[in-house]
């Protein structure tokens, strides 16, 4: 347990020393700021014509999910691919560290960094609350951010597993992004063609927009995200273990 925490802390602090992580964080917050501003400006214009309409928290929560799909691969790509390229993986795998501890530690570090970004974005609901009267409904804010954290946990875990497959960060990034987009869009064909529900159940966005974004907490969605995270960590551990056997 302690070993896991040592690795997690190192990964977390490493994000603050690498320019790529800063760039990703900067883009994330910049895009959110632009979207927030544009939405506020648009609703302000509209409120002249339709008095009473006010922006709700979805203007900030919904774009964040999309942003996560693009930002997380950039943050997880390095985790194991870099260690494998630099040969430092040899050091970690010959230290008294279990493979699972290594993977979970790496994941926890990246998850905590993404969680930090998400929590920084809490500033927007606070600002929004000041802008509208009589204030915003905090229910969807809480469920929305909870959903975002759960989604981030899943995405970072899957990203960690994909990173373990590669020696090259760029390859890890592209593969992770492709994988996320697949998961993101899985539900679309079945929606339009009325196919089986299973695709929709596997769809990453389906578990967010229909519930968390509307202020609903459904255990099925929590289980979906948690099992996704567990699957990613398990796969990552297996990938590292099989690396040893080659």
């Amino acid at each position: 347990m302690r070993t896991l925490w040592i690795i997690a802390r190192r990964e977390y602090s490493r994000y603050f020393t690498t320019p790529a992580a800063y760039l990703a964080a900067f883009l994330f917050l910049l895009v959110l700021g632009i979207i927030f501003y544009a939405n506020i400006a648009a609703t302000t214009m509209r409120s002249f014509m339709m008095p009473g309409s006010a922006p709700d928290i979805s203007i900030i929560v919904n774009p964040m999910t999309t942003l996560l799909v693009f930002i997380v691969p950039a943050l997880t790509m390095r985790l194991l691919a870099e260690e494998q390229r630099m040969g430092t993986i040899e050091l970690l795998l010959t230290s008294p560290v279990r493979d699972a501890e290594l993977i979970i530690g790496k994941w926890l570090g990246s998850f905590l960094f993404v969680a930090t970004l998400i929590l920084i974005a809490l500033i927007y609901p606070v600002v929004l609350n000041q802008l509208v009267s009589p204030g915003i409904d905090w229910g969807p804010v809480i469920t929305g951010f909870l959903g975002l954290l759960l989604m981030a946990a899943t995405l970072t875990a899957l990203g960690t597993a994909v990173s373990a497959l590669f020696n090259n960060q760029i390859a890890a990034f592209v593969a992770t992004l492709a994988f996320f987009l697949l998961l993101w869009l899985l539900g679309f064909p079945s929606q339009s063609m009325g196919g089986s529900n299973i695709w929709q159940y596997l769809d990453l966005s389906h578990h967010f927009y229909d519930t968390f974004a509307r202020g609903i907490i459904d255990t099925r969605d929590i289980i979906y995200y948690l099992s996704g995270a567990a699957l990613g960590l398990f796969a990552g551990t297996v990938i590292i273990e099989t690396r040893r056997w080659r």
């Binding site: 040592i6 190192r10 630099m86 040969g87 040899e90 230290s95 008294p96």
Partner: protein
């Protein structure tokens, strides 16, 4: 009683059809420096990776301090310090931070004090705050070594520890290894024979996954050398009469004048002919500039052994062709059983 720290039995590793190491057997006692000598691709790194718990062997067992490298991998890893061939360093960390991180992973108590201690040992205390990315190759090697001894491992495994260092650094690192070898068991691989000769109590010569020789550097020399070789340098070119007189000496087997003016004399093992040689040289009117015993270098031994190996192998391969393939197939299962 001296404890066996490394025990390897029937260790085999195959990568698909390629056999990297084939039924290796060796052991090392506490406080011993064991040299692993062989050409590139002989299986040195593979053996080391198995011993450090990085990868499991295909068959066979290896124990470090009594712990099985696969079944008690974590216990083994606690007791082993490892410096891989490509020194694994994080370029974005400072030297001290790196050592503290590695120390924490290995549960080193009072890790910061210990990090300073090893930094002093490798002579890097003035670069503690430098980023690893800015260090020279020799310094990186020393940081790697510091990392390997950080947790006071019982067994130290070093894969080509002096590769890419300048001569002064090589001497420094060798002294350091010798220092460490007093308390720890050290297994080091190298293809620099002089290094093995200087550092190791015992040398394993490995080629194509087999151990071709195992002995102390001195014994290896004794074993392969027919007689004592003596090199004599005289002032000016040696006259033929001198060579004839030298040949006549008791115990001298061969005298040859070499192109560079040196005289090479091969004497019988055990007979001391040097006083007579000196006298003969002076009596024949030459000035004696230098006389030394030229031991056969490990280099020559190495080439000789590797040469024998390849020769016997080609014979064996020739024999194999005569055998039917069914015999081969039958032989394999019995080997595993």
């Amino acid at each position: 009683m001296t404890q066996t720290m490394i025990a390897v039995q029937g260790l085999t590793k195959t990568y698909g059809p390629r056999v990297a190491i084939d039924h290796l057997e060796f052991s090392a006692k506490k406080g011993e420096i064991l040299g692993f000598l062989g050409p590139n691709g002989a299986g040195k790194t593979t053996t080391m990776r198995i011993l450090t718990g990085y990868m499991p062997p295909t068959t066979g067992t290896a124990r470090i301090a009594g712990f099985h490298v696969v079944d008690d991998s974590l216990e083994v890893r606690k007791r082993v310090g490892y410096l891989p061939e490509t020194v694994p360093l994080y370029n974005d960390m400072s030297v001290l931070d790196y050592l503290i991180y590695m120390g924490r992973l290995r549960r080193v108590p009072k890790v910061e004090d210990r990090a300073w201690e090893v930094l002093e040992q490798v002579g890097m205390e003035d670069r503690a705050d430098s980023f690893i990315g800015s260090l020279s190759k020799g310094m990186r090697q020393r940081v790697g070594l510091a990392q390997a001894i950080l947790h006071r491992p019982e067994v130290l495994i070093l894969d080509e520890p002096t590769i890419g260092l300048d001569p002064t650094q090589v001497v420094e690192v060798r002294n350091l290894i010798q220092e460490i070898g007093k308390e720890h068991t050290v297994l080091l691989s190298t293809h620099i024979l002089a290094e093995a000769q200087q550092l190791c109590d015992r040398v394993l010569i490995i080629n194509k996954g087999h151990i071709v020789a195992e002995d102390t550097p001195e014994n290896l020399q004794m074993r392969l050398q027919g007689g004592t070789r003596i090199l004599v340098t005289v002032q000016g070119p040696p006259q033929e009469s001198l060579l004839t007189r030298l040949r006549a000496l008791q115990g001298v087997q061969m005298v040859a004048s070499k192109e560079d003016g040196q005289i090479e004399i091969v004497a019988e093992e055990g007979s001391e002919v040097r006083p007579q040689i000196a006298r003969t040289v002076l009596e024949s009117g030459h000035n004696l500039l230098e006389m030394r015993r030229a031991a056969m270098s490990l280099e020559e031994i190495f080439l000789q052994l590797i040469g024998e190996e390849t020769a016997t192998e080609s014979i064996a391969e020739g024999e194999d062709e005569d055998e039917t393939s069914t015999e081969d197939a039958e032989a394999e299962p019995t080997e595993e059983a």
